[in-house]
Symmetry: C2
Subunit: 337 residues, 2 copies
């Protein structure tokens, strides 16, 4: 049985046309007359022909491949999963546009840039999707300088950086959380947050602060700024509740919220009173513990990233028409708040 893979020449022979006509049917159908087009289409499906991407790529320098870094396997059990879910969602959306997704690991931004280089050189990737943007992000400036198409999930926190991005409005998220607690009659709402200086962290903090101020509450002494660990969440909760009489907590992450939740459970089991906690990210842990939390619309974010990317790719060279999309998060209400 000669079940060789059919090539464009096989198809051409079968349909009694030339290679190029088959190629046109696939890449520029309008150039081909309707009846020959149908004849070629028939030959294609009879033979089960699929273009060989490597051959195509060799000529066109396009691979139909996009790449993403997978988050490092961190010890932060809570944080890990959200990015993985994002990767999944991107893959799903990308497939709809005929792109496949390649994943890679990197230890830091410099390493990531090296990988870009390799991927561009060796595999001729069409584009990248970045996550975890931050102040003075080397990656975006590098990619921009090289003229490589990319979209970030996360806005550019530096003033000068400009590019295509999709992000979730963290400020609106913590604002909604704070609002909800105010509606329930709480006033001294504390914020368990990250150190000042990270774009994402400051944004989330701002949502809490402005909402609290608008309600006439002075936010001074009602917030902390620590690393993103369970232990720090616990300690922060202790400080805000015991020392500063907070009556409810909004947290910058589910990791911190988990710590706060534990502190409150401890207190309850020692006969103390409970009080509401709201986390951020809707991680598996939040769901397991019944934590109210701010959920990011990950699928939508992923879909939007891919859409932006494709429209970027269809517009070669036009670098000034950046597009930005800010998506609204929503509260997932559970027992904790």
């Amino acid at each position: 049985m000669g079940d060789e893979r059919p090539t464009i020449t096989t198809v051409a022979a079968r349909a009694n046309v030339s290679r190029q006509t088959v190629s046109n049917v696939l890449n520029a159908p309008h150039r081909v007359q309707a009846d020959t087009r149908e004849r070629v289409q028939a030959a294609i499906s009879e033979l089960g022909y699929r273009p060989h991407r490597a051959a195509r790529q060799l000529r066109t320098h396009r691979s139909n491949l996009i790449a993403m870094r997978t988050a490092p396997l961190s010890d932060d059990v809570v944080a890990g999963s959200i990015l993985d879910r994002f990767v999944h969602a991107v893959t799903e959306s990308a497939e709809r546009y005929g792109f496949r997704t390649l994943v890679f690991t990197a230890t830091d931004d410099t390493d990531e840039i090296n990988t870009y280089n390799d991927l561009l050189n060796s595999y001729e990737l069409d584009a990248f999707i970045l996550t975890g943007t931050h102040h003075r992000d080397k990656r975006t400036t590098w990619l921009r300088k090289q003229g490589v198409p990319f979209v970030t999930f996360g806005r550019p926190w530096g003033v000068r950086a400009k590019h295509w991005w999709v992000d979730v409005d963290g400020k609106a998220g913590t604002s909604a959380a704070t609002e909800r607690l105010l509606d329930q009659g709480f006033r001294r709402i504390g914020f368990v947050g990250w150190p000042i200086g990270s774009g994402v962290g400051d944004d989330r903090r701002a949502g809490w602060e402005t909402t609290l101020r608008a309600a006439g509450v002075d936010p001074a002494e009602l917030s902390t700024a620590t690393e993103n660990t369970v232990a720090e969440g616990h300690a922060s909760a202790q400080e805000l509740i015991r020392r500063h009489a907070a009556d409810a907590l909004v947290c910058a992450s589910d990791t911190l919220a988990l710590g706060a939740h534990r502190m409150i459970s401890d207190q309850v089991s020692r006969g103390g009173s409970t009080l509401p906690v709201i986390g951020f990210d809707d991680s598996p842990v939040a769901s397991a513990l019944g934590l109210t939390t701010v959920a990011q619309p990950l699928r939508e974010a992923a879909a939007t990233c891919v859409e932006l990317l494709t429209s970027y790719l269809d517009r070669p060279g036009d670098t000034n028409a950046e597009q930005q999309v800010l998506l609204a998060p929503h509260l997932v209400i559970r027992q904790s708040g």
Copy 2:
């Protein structure tokens, strides 16, 4: 500035040798004399040359790409993350062998097979890594029939299926869990399990059952068989504890363990007594709740999969030398047991 991408010809010119010699330096160094080899190496690094994979692939039909399906975004918040971590670990290991990882989604096994077909045809993937093997798995038989290299994470549960695989010894895991509870003096140890008939589920059940029997305890009425949901875990715990006086629980998954944990917490808060629960998978949730659980050595499993794959690929045609690796899980001891 003519900063064109250097090709093999550029390098050849620079080193005063022919294309083929450069190619040999890269692919069959022993064929090239030491001094010319060095000269070529120098030219390569001076120019920053990297072989163009599409061109190479066109000739060799090897892409240096392996593919994996990413788990469907399920509502089972607990289960999702473990496969994602596996994908990550595979990516990391694969990079060490010069492979990149492509991920794809599929709705079911048939759909997955269609994707194999597309990937093989269009991208000429070198191999696949499968997860979630089960009885009468169509995927493995299809791949085998096509002669496509693959390794599964999960053993073939059907009798007739034979292929290269890596798995974790679930039986040993639940056995160790049961052993631990016996050591602590518990006797009526219940098992919250999946329906009979799934390879993985039966294996985990067997570990509990044989260990319990060996200790002289009759396992009858001490186990349940339900779907893998939190609610079922809760209900099972209730039945085993209330109706059949179980004094400790081993669960087939962290999802079920979470349900059981909740039931026990409820009981405690109503003044009842606590009792130990042990889960399976060491998911983020287990860590957050302080659940003792059986952890699978995911990184090791991933690394082994990749190793098997490379040795498979280096041995074209030799289909009879299957290799199987069974890895031992370990208990992660936390508050719950």
